[in-house]
């Protein structure tokens, strides 16, 4: 009985097995082709996204190149430092471009990333700035660049401010609104207004001392 059953199973298996194997192989091949197609599509999509992302990043940089380089220049302590800051800012913009939400405003986004890049590492002030007083540094700068005297003086004065005031007054001088500044800084609007008022008065006093006596 068992013997005959065994033969029946064996004959069935012999009959069914090639078909079963064939079906399995066909199924596997079909699935493999499907997966391959999916992967190709995903790869194409990634490439397209990457190309789109790169294009968008370059567009943003081109539109805001002036702002980025001006912020980096005002925080840099020397030319090498400026180049480093510029590259770091670009790298951070490239890193963050895929997560950028347009509703937050491109301008403030650029300000935030560039300022964060500039203030995130502590930079030692140069020896000259350590030993020479702020007014003398501004005076030297004014003497070195007579055609831009007042603007060079102002840039030197802003660069000497503590990082928080430096960032705030830089945005205010670049015509950002109080709300935009508060958004970038993550501060209360009133605190921003107070800080701007204080720094403005400080700069005006220094201007009086340096330029009015000179004139």
């Amino acid at each position: 009985m068992i013997y005959s059953n065994y033969h029946t199973v064996q004959s069935h298996t012999e009959r069914l097995l090639p078909g079963l194997i064939d079906t399995t192989i066909r199924f596997c091949l079909a699935k493999a082709a499907e997966i391959r197609e999916c992967m190709c599509a995903a790869f194409d999509r990634t490439q397209t996204t990457d190309i789109r992302r790169e294009g968008y990043y370059l567009e943003i940089v081109e539109r805001n190149a002036d702002v980025i380089s001006k912020i980096c220049r005002s925080f840099a302590t020397c030319d090498a430092d400026y180049e480093d800051l510029r590259q770091d800012a670009l790298l951070n913009i490239w890193r963050g471009v895929s997560g950028f939400r347009k509703d937050s405003g491109e301008r403030t986004w650029i300000y935030r990333i560039t300022l964060n890049t500039c203030v995130s590492t502590y930079r030692k002030r140069s020896r000259r700035k350590d030993t020479v007083s702020i007014d003398t540094t501004a005076q030297i700068a004014a003497e070195e660049y007579p055609e831009q005297d007042e603007s060079v003086w102002l840039a030197a004065m802003v660069a000497q401010l503590p990082p928080m005031d430096h960032a705030i007054i830089e945005m205010w001088l670049d015509e950002l609104s109080y709300d935009e500044i508060a958004g970038v800084m993550g501060m209360n609007r009133n605190t921003v207004a107070t800080r701007i008022h204080r720094t403005k008065n400080y700069l005006k006093n220094k201007y009086q001392q340096t330029w009015m006596t000179k004139k």
């Binding site: 190149a65 490239w94 890193r95 502590y122």
Partner: protein
Amino acid sequence: MDDKKMKETWRRRPCGDARCLIEEARSKEILTFRRKTALQRLADRYRVFYTVAFCMIPANILFLRNIFDGYDTNYALMYAFALYFLTAGCMDVYLHMRIRRIDVLEMPTSEVIREALDCRKWHLRFMMILLPAAIALIVMMAMCFDTDKYVIYGMLTGGACGIAIGLKAFSDFMNDYRQLRD
């Protein structure tokens, strides 16, 4: 100088070359993330420091055991060295973690400034703990070898140079620290 004039003056200030920045934006170094930011490099440096400090604990024990081959093993000195490197390693781990937490893409600027200045302050505080501790360790080591006059001469010379360099470093640290408080 009124507000309007101040803004006009600000617009006339000398600035960097924007064209150069656009060319730089297309560079492979940036697009392929081959370059690291100053913040990432700083975090990496702290990682190297704490790895070295933790490796120094067993290495020092082995080293001191060999040195004391002819002498009685000074366990106090051995433990002091181990404690010193353990402390230094833990401090570097702490600073590494705090620097890794700074997210320039998401955090508001005021928070980034506060974090960066705080990290710098802690770095200086740790240095102010570790520098005197290193001097104390050297003195302890000198006391262990007080029978060998040449070792003592060598240590005194090294100690004098070390103190001179240390004082210079200390005055720099204090200068930095004062600037951070202002």
